[in-house]
Amino acid sequence: MKWFAAAAAASAIPEFTAGTATPNLGAATPPATKGYGTDTNTAGYFKPGDVWPLTLPAAQRKLVTALADVILPADHLGPAASEVHVPEMMDEWISAPYPDQQKDRAKILPGLQWIEDESHKRFQKSFTALTSVQQHAICDDICTRTGVKKEFSKGAEFFGVFRNLAASAYYSTEPGWHALGYVGNVPLTQFDGPPREVLEKLGVTQTVV
């Protein structure tokens, strides 16, 4: 129980502070306390929510969706993050009871509130209601790890963790694979190695005949 309380405290959203007009996003449901153990149903197929409940309230899920789509939009390389369940996978991640995921949760939940505060400060609106030019204005200030202005350092740290997790999820999906150029995971009757155009581009020949 002690551990549970500590985890819940770590994930709590910072107090709403007087003076800013930001609505508090509200506390997320505490994450699961029990993991999937050591003997898993390895051959099963799963979706977020199957092994432990998702914990993001609607307002935060909406914000995650908006930001994930700014980072991974629909374009010539494929669909947007939200079309391939990236927000749900991110929710599963931060709702997990394990230390690594709890560390990310402790960055992501306060970070979401930070983005929302910043959005209200600059544009008096929720991040989810901003135009894409306005969203980019905020993201441009926090998208790098180095050379960030001091007042944005917290936002930048959050953005890095968020982008990392969103990309991990996006490229776990079939459309994500196509966006990257991965075309495997299909059974073949024989393996021919790289095609001729690849060998020529690299200036190599196939040495296994």
Binding site: D50, H76, G160, L180
Partner: protein, 598 residues
Amino acid sequence: MPIIASSQAQPEYDVAIVGSGAGGGQMAYTLTLAGLKCVMLEAGRAYDPGTESAMFQRPDQIPLMNAPTPGKPYGFADATIDGGWEVPGEPYTQASTKAEEQFWWWRARMLGGRTNHWGRISLRNGPYDFKPRSRDGLGFDWPITYADVEPYYTKVEMLVGVFGSNEGLENTPDSPPGVLLPPPKGRAAELYAQKHAKKIGMPIISIHRAVLTKLLDADTLPAKLHPGNPRAQKIVADSMRARAACFWATDCHRGCNIRANYQSTTVHLPPALATGNLDIIPNAHAREVTLGKNGKATGVLYIDKTTGREARVKAKAVVLAASSAESVRILLNSKSAPHPQGLANSSGLVGKYITDSVGVSVSGHVPALENLPAHNEDGAGGPHFYAPWWLYTEQHASRLDFARGYHTEFNGSRSMPGGRNPLSDDLGRGAYGTKFKEEARRYYGSFVGYTARGEMVPNEFCFADLDPAVKDKWGIPVLRWHWKWTDQELNLAAHAIKSYTALIEAMGGKVRGTPKSPRDAIAAPGKVIHEVGGALMGADAKKSVCNGWNQTWDVKNLFLCDAAPFASNSDKNPTLTIMALAWRAGDFIVEQARKGNL
């Protein structure tokens, strides 16, 4: 006979085998096909790769995108059940509080052991590897030679199916013609490395892995493996026919439900069970080898984990193959009035001279590999190429400051994405949106990684004994680890870092990350999961635990058939040698049984 409960065991068996991994699986196969009645005790649960292997699951169909967790260190879908660095209720302890002196002990607890998820890299030891002390004055010679083991390497390769090529390189043995299966084609990054490694003199060739690149020849192989034993031939032929060839997709670490790679559970145990001569008791944790008045082993005392109670099996001979360190633990715990230091330990050497491989990894980014046209490089579910150790001459002439070599394993390139950000922050430089996706696509496939598996020289500081206080949940004393790297390992690590930096630069690439000192770069003790030794074989009963037949000097009907008897830990991964020696020891046991010597 089948998988049974403890209560269904026969009153007595010819042989009791502890453990069902590479060593136990091979032993059960050899003995039961020769007609001996065996019981196998396995601490973990029964496991069926046919129904339990994750094959085509994408990371988005697996909890946490298959990320490592404390309960599943290689992810949810990995073929390790109930095992890992920690096993609940079964601790191990460390003599030192310093991280670099602490041993990470990976333990399997399932039918088939670590062979369900291992990397399938299957290299033969060479002639030097059995006589290292004669060559450089360090460590120990084995009491056997390459020639003694060669026929068994060949048999194991024929049975399990190993792909590779014969290159005629020094101390990197060829297999007899027709034994190896065809090697798979090189991948883009492998071919590119192979070409440019010539500049630095590093040979890159096809690796050997236990994957069926082609169906086994069930019409001819069984007769070669079991001459004069038609029943064995039939059983083995049927088992070979039940295996499919690799379909060039999916990750071998998740296990293979078409039986195209080697797992004890798909290759060794099915034919052994088909003989009717094998009972397997899962959830049976061996505690001690029991001893008769005549000084011979009488069987095994174990915990039936389904009830928590002690139980016994009786046998005319006992084989320990619980993984090298666990077999050490069983010996040390088998104390009796005549053997206060544990069984087979009159030399005082049980637990001593444990080695792991020296692991060092360097990764790089190679611009020439960027933006390649999309193509499928899944291949045989693991590396296709490697670099064997190549500086034997320099080393023998004392021109290097370390005595033993390393081979190089390849990773990376266009493997299945997911669960990780493919574009690290330093390369992405802040990109998000379409720019991020374009950059991720550009860099995908351009990262290379080289990992050394180097030979550690046995030293007196690396050993395991029983913790005087700590017990596991069954009340069995646990192992306590002691570890120290020496300059041998650190200098080897430094050399590997230099070689890989040169290789990456020869490819026009750049090393990723900040260079580390050898002490920081070397994988933590145990992390390579190639721990061997602890009950060395030797020619002298006072200076070793077993003889050249894996038979303990002190107890004639007790055999150690995992890596515990390894007198050295060559750079070649241990498992093929575990199997070859287990088959050889099995033939010896069969012969002794026929002569009535058990």
